[in-house]
Symmetry: C2
Subunit: 133 residues, 2 copies
DNA sequence: TTTAAATAGGACTATGTTAGTCCAATAGAA
DNA sequence: TTCTATTGGACTAACATAGTCCTATTTAAA
């Protein structure tokens, strides 16, 4: 099963909402209420988008979030990486060394799977947030 | 995270092994031993490939499995469906009615996500087992 | 006709991931 | 000082995946 996570869906909905908003700043509460997204979960997601320099925020009363990149400058690939971490389609394709695959010696399909990985990656790099807003 | 399951990886390895074998029949044990795949798990996978009319089998001593389709006639998409069930990239895109998404009314991204779904699907339909053997 | 080798298949468990919750701290405007 | 908002750590619940165990059933060979 190959699936984009609920968190990424929520992120897309949030970014759509923010990019359509007339106000300078949009609060997590607003987004949560209008899109039926659990508030606490959404907060975490927005923070990750901030850390990835997709959003910026101001705290305190009248605070909120705003976009600091144009939607067409944000590949879906980056969004997914920011939220869920690695996007490798198979564990063994992960760069991190602590994810050593015990089949390394005998694996007969590593090369074609890598190729598939690249094609999926390209698809998700081509897609940007502007395709969703 | 978007990922093909270990089961699908095992299926690809098994199909590669079978398609390269000189013998008419290949046993689950042979495949399991030479590829380091857990025997019981592999058995289940081969049975599913049989139900999907990718493999056929004969039981009993000297029994085993054999391919009944050419690798280039088996889209990766079908393999994944046979083994893991639905391949929708988002829950809400599932056809089955018992998978009702509670965001249906408010979901703002259904249409672009559907489009992405189609593109991913096409990629996995284009790829066939012959790309892996 | 017995035995061994093989597929067939149900039920169960262990582990890991995802989604979601709870709580406390910090920042800033009114 | 109080209220509103982001920040962020820790935890829990639910679910999916991977793997195991056990018992038929089928068939060729001894």
């Amino acid at each position: 099963m190959i699936r984009i996570s609920k968190k990424v869906e929520y992120a897309l909905m949030a970014l759509k909402f923010i990019s359509h908003s007339e106000h300078k700043l949009v609060t997590a509460r607003e987004i949560s209420d209008t899109n039926n997204i659990p508030y606490d979960l959404l907060s975490k997601i927005l923070q990750k988008l901030k850390n990835e320099n997709i959003l910026a925020s101001t705290q305190g009363t009248n605070g909120g979030y705003f976009l600091i990149k144009r939607p067409d400058e944000i590949p879906l690939y980056n969004l997914m990486n920011a939220i869920d971490g690695d996007t490798a389609i198979a564990e063994c394709l992960n760069e991190s060394t602590d994810n050593y695959c015990c089949l390394t010696e005998t694996c007969s399909i590593k090369s074609p799977v890598s190729k598939l990985q690249k094609e999926v990656e390209e698809l998700f790099k081509r897609k940007t947030i502007s395709d969703f807003v």
